[in-house]
Symmetry: C2
């Protein structure tokens, strides 16, 4: 069945039948002119928005609709966690060609709701339109945090440790396999990097835990790339950074895939995007307590460098400092 046979009401019914847990802050959910939410007293509200466009952000015969939805939520949660906040509500705008199978919407929402369930998010609304062109999904996420936990990009100070919450390069390795039809004799590593690219886990709890430590001076996520997002922190804070090559936590399956495919895994780790981990600067006197708090909450943390007063990005390899150019994906270049 195609969605043009269901009509708008049929499509909405198909969305509304997906169950989600009760949420005491949701006064009115999907169905009226607007959703109504009771903000948690004493908390600030956070907002981020992502456009996901067919053939720019996903390729239909490479990703399942479930994976597209799941990854969209992961991307949204990364932005909210990057501010030290908890993700709470989601709005989903959809633009679909009339011959889209109804099953696409069902599976897309299954992916959205599955990731929502991991993070405690309720889908509260959205819109749906027809189009003659690529499928476009706009996710708007609403988060909440206490004022004291909000962490921006601009507070990095000289001497701060630079930390990252997970291994690097696997998503870029997966993207390389998705874009180039390569067959490798390393099935487990291939499977792992494809999973990291196509259905990455949301960094749920990582940013909020870091923020709660009270020791984080600046934070962002590395969805664009480690070098690109570190550059954003440094520019916003008017500082520079030195990364230690030996300390970069490069994902094991990315190393295997890079070796098998003849690619540079360091390039993936530094400049590949979509690892959806968090990058934070930590007060050097409080590093051990941050590490302890992350460990208690089951989250990884790796120290990968220091903030310096001089602007610019550098990476140390065998006692040599090399300038590091921030690179990442630009939609228009």
């Amino acid at each position: 069945m195609q969605i043009k046979e269901l009509g708008e009401t049929g499509v909405l019914n198909c969305i509304k039948t997906h169950s989600q847990g009760e949420d005491s802050q949701v006064i009115i959910g999907i169905g009226d002119d607007a959703a109504v939410i009771n903000p948690k007293p004493g908390f600030l509200s956070l907002y981020a928005c992502h456009m996901l466009v067919e053939n720019s952000h996903f390729i239909l015969n490479r990703s399942t609709p479930f994976q597209i939805g799941y990854k969209g939520v992961t991307k949204s949660v990364a932005d909210i966690e990057a501010m030290g906040a908890a993700s709470r509500f989601l709005l989903v705008g959809l633009s679909l060609p009339p011959d889209t199978p109804a099953q696409f919407i069902e599976e897309l929402y299954e992916g959205i709701y599955a990731a929502n369930a991991v993070c405690g998010i309720s889908t509260i609304g959205g819109d749906i339109s027809d189009c003659q062109g690529p499928i476009t999904i706009c996710l708007t996420i609403v988060g909440e945090a206490k004022a004291e936990d909000i962490t921006t990009r601009e507070g990095a100070r000289e001497g701060d440790y630079i930390v990252v919450t997970g291994a690097l390069g696997a998503a870029a390795a997966g993207l390389h396999l998705v874009l180039n039809d390569i067959s490798l004799d390393t099935p487990e590593a291939v499977q792992e990097v494809l999973q990291k690219q196509l259905q990455p886990e949301p960094p749920w709890g990582k940013g909020t835990t870091l923020a709660r430590s009270g020791a984080v001076t600046a934070m962002t996520d590395i969805s664009d790339s480690l070098s690109h997002n570190l550059d954003k922190i440094c520019k916003a804070s008017n500082k520079g950074a030195i990364l230690e090559l030996k300390d970069l936590p490069i994902a094991a399956p990315a190393k295997i895939v890079a070796a098998a495919a003849g690619c540079d895994v360091l390039e993936w780790a530094l400049n590949g995007g979509e690892d959806f981990e968090l990058l934070a600067c930590v007060d050097p006197g409080k590093l051990s307590q941050v590490q302890e708090l992350m460990q208690q909450n089951g989250h990884d943390i790796y120290v990968i460098g220091r903030i310096i007063d001089q602007t610019g990005l550098y990476i140390r390899q065998d006692d040599q400092l090399k300038a590091l150019s921030p690179k990442g994906f630009d939609h228009f270049l």
Copy 2:
């Protein structure tokens, strides 16, 4: 200059240079991973989302980018006013082909900011992506209201007056002219209906004033059409309605255009969408005080029928009751 020459940062700079008034609730605006808002204590938050797609919602050589942005805000505000709430914050997701002129974005945002200024809205964030296909704009609007002012579609009671806040049919008349290349010898009326179609004014203050009266039992906007949206109120309230044909406030320029073009103006008034007025049900004992409050605030109000206990929609013409079928635009039929 095309946006592929500006790059993502250039596009963002182009957006950020647009000025907007100070907003004490905006703690962090455009630029970090997420925007941060301080919700007004004691108020609920409202959310609605709209996808605007080239060739489905606008045609580039018929609408200016300014008009597309302005109308998008109007559409968003209509949903929030329909709940009795004030519009406050906006997120803008954009998906644009790389050869889009930079001027398109500038003028689009000028339209958005112009309508924002009318309604007291701050743009707090968004996203931008490239695409190979139609321009797609996703607007997510955030409103706020006291719990007692929130008005849904489901409270209509037998005997309630049905009111509408403005004249009907002009936007549909304008759409007829936009879609059919017709030349009419009624330039003023043509100009007026085109304005109503291409750059309609937001129903700012109309829904909040109605809600504040305490006399409104159900409310929605008539962006889909009078018949379609009245049907939604009736279905949600498990009631029916009788409209009085003689009392329908049909827009004068729509009548002139219909006569000149040989069209049925009543069809436009009942089933044409995008008038962006509000449709409300009013406690019959409090009609005069609602009318007075609307007048004091400079808003029109027209009584066009009554709610009945029996389900179904009817229209009375010359003492004859005829069944009225709810019609409106369905994106997928």
